[in-house]
């Protein structure tokens, strides 16, 4: 077993983990009479009291529709809602708050880009390149664009380690048709961080834009879209300790300016007549209808929460956890960890000889340990890895080394049943 002294040391170095855990009411829960060990934060993270309270406060004291009313309540709610745009701009270090578009989630953000930028700026015969380790959300919208608009969809390979294969990428770009590179910033299966600055440079040197799926990365690391030189960056609020139903699309101002609306309705117009309507400027051009007001306010509270802890501490904590998790899992005979990327974060997928991922998940669940099992919305990647499904443990800022030790012990019991 792994040295518990190491686990204890791990807690004190970066943050007061016990205090943090008290901020998340659900972590005190029991499942099947056991203490909940929640290792499925990559699917959706738990919510701190600050987020819950902010949403409840808004409903109890400060709620009306936004951008419409001339009354006090509406103005205050609009201020709170628009204030979150500033917070998101700060989180991503965007050049302007007008570069932040609120959507439902990262999936909708990518669909928005595929539907508007994809049809208005990309031309039939142009190509979009994705990688072999994309979530379905960064595959299917491009397939739909391909089928509707005649844009070619190409796939760059990954190496056996689970890193972007730059030779393959080079080959995909060779004929000069590629106008957009759409890749993950951190794989939801392998935990690989992609070298986003290098990828952006690579795309730009070849006349293409770059879209980064930051759904996983934004939770674990400080993201600077200007330092990366990202053209598009997307993420979901619910993985960043915020509520579901609110997501973000960042895009450079000049790109958003050139994009037509996604959906039509209230709030996205400058003026409307039966003959013709004209569009509001970005970001409101892309926010038709009453938005997710409460969820946006919740996201703002989540951003304040992670900022108060600080990304340097969060990143250091998760790096130590990942090392610990890899050590714990490597000790289990017959268990294979997928991917060996140099730069990887708190997402570990694995398979066990003789035991199906769903059996692993069920047996762990019985011990109070929540992991995900399945194809993780990345079926093509499963094919590339030669598996049909994996079990996945993923970490958050509230995850402890003891919980990873519990996972190791739980897996040892699974192994016993299946040996």
């Amino acid at each position: 077993m792994v040295d518990t002294a190491m686990s204890a040391a791990l807690q004190d170095d970066f943050m007061d983990i016990e205090a943090i855990r008290r901020d998340f009411p659900i972590l005190a829960s029991q499942v099947h009479g056991r203490k909940l060990v929640f290792l499925d934060s990559a699917a959706s993270a738990q919510k701190p009291r600050a987020v819950i309270d902010a949403m409840v406060f808004a409903m109890e004291h400060q709620y009306a529709n936004v951008h419409r009313g001339l009354h006090w309540m509406s103005e205050r709610t609009s201020d709170a809602y628009e204030g979150v745009r500033d917070k998101v701009a700060g989180l991503l270090n965007a050049g302007s708050r007008d570069e932040i578009v609120f959507t439902r989630n990262a999936t909708e953000s990518i669909n928005l880009v595929a539907y508007t930028y994809g049809r208005a700026v990309l031309r039939p015969g142009d190509a979009v390149v994705i990688s072999e380790m994309e979530h379905h959300a960064n595959i299917v919208p491009w397939q739909m664009l391909r089928d509707a608009h005649g844009v070619e969809l190409r796939v760059a390979k990954i190496t056996d380690a689970g890193e972007i294969d730059f030779e393959s990428l080079e080959a995909q770009f060779a004929d000069g048709k590629v106008k957009l590179l759409a890749v993950t910033h951190m794989s939801n299966v392998l935990g690989t961080y992609t070298p986003v600055e290098r990828l952006a440079r690579f795309a730009h040197e070849r006349g293409a834009k770059i879209l980064l799926d930051g759904s996983q990365a934004v939770v674990h690391r400080a993201v600077d879209v200007r330092a990366i030189d990202a053209d598009f960056y997307v993420f979901s609020g619910h993985k960043l300790y915020g509520p579901s139903g609110i997501g973000v699309l960042y895009a450079k101002a000049e790109i958003l300016d050139a994009m037509p609306p996604f959906m039509g309705g209230g709030d996205m117009i400058a003026s409307v007549s039966y003959e013709k309507s004209s569009w509001a400027k970005p970001p409101h051009r892309f926010e038709a209808g009453t938005p997710a007001i409460l969820e946006t306010i919740g996201l703002g509270a989540a951003i304040d929460y992670v900022n108060a802890i600080g990304f340097p501490s969060i990143a250091a904590h998760e790096r130590a956890l990942t090392d610990h998790g890899l050590a714990v899992l490597s000790n289990i005979e017959g268990l294979r960890i997928l991917g060996t990327a140099q730069d990887r974060g708190g997402v570990i997928s694995f398979v066990m000889q003789g035991a199906h991922a769903h059996d692993i998940a069920t047996l762990l669940d019985r011990q109070g340990i929540a992991v995900r099992a399945g194809h993780h919305c990345a079926e093509p990647l499963m094919g590339r890895l030669g598996v049909t499904s994996t079990a996945r443990a993923s970490f958050a800022l509230y995850t402890t080394a003891q919980e990873l030790d519990a996972l190791g012990e739980g897996l040892a019991r699974v192994k016993k049943i299946f040996s």
Binding site: H358, D359, R366, G374, T388, S389, R413, F418
Partner: protein, 138 residues
């Protein structure tokens, strides 16, 4: 192991590790298949009508493989209407968790009722069998 033995008991593990009805027969009269898109599980069921002998090719979890095995035991020699009846009783049992004496060894899967997402694993071979009996050989 009382916390897990309810579902992953000896009979299920034994039949998963040492299946008796696995493999595609050279000759068969009907074939059906089942997929679980959530996990990629896949089962093919082959029926030989000489006494309704059932075999299966399974790629999936212990629950699905054991269920295919116990199903093959449980339907041997039965007519199609009897199989349909048994399937209904089995599905009722895995949904309710209440053992049904008439189902014999199939009751080993009663524990699956506690895991809503796993009930499908237990019923998948039965839907494949039902498909085989409806469609015959394509």
């Amino acid at each position: 192991m009382s916390d897990t033995a309810d579902l992953y008991q000896a009979l299920i593990m034994e039949r998963t590790k040492n299946p008796r009805h696995a493999g595609k027969p050279d000759h068969f009269d009907a074939e059906g298949e089942g997929d679980n898109p959530m996990c990629g599980d896949h089962v093919r069921v082959f029926v030989q009508n000489d006494g309704t002998r059932v075999s299966h090719v399974s790629r999936g979890c212990a629950i699905m493989v054991a269920s295919a095995e116990l199903m093959a035991d449980a339907v041997a020699g039965l007519s199609a209407p009897q199989i349909a009846q048994r399937r209904a009783a089995f599905e009722a049992m895995v949904n309710s968790g209440a053992p049904d004496q008439s189902l014999g060894d199939l009751n080993a899967l009663a524990g699956v009722s506690e895991y809503r997402s796993r009930i499908r694993c237990a019923t998948l071979p039965w839907s494949a069998l039902a498909q085989a009996l409806t469609d015959g050989v394509d």
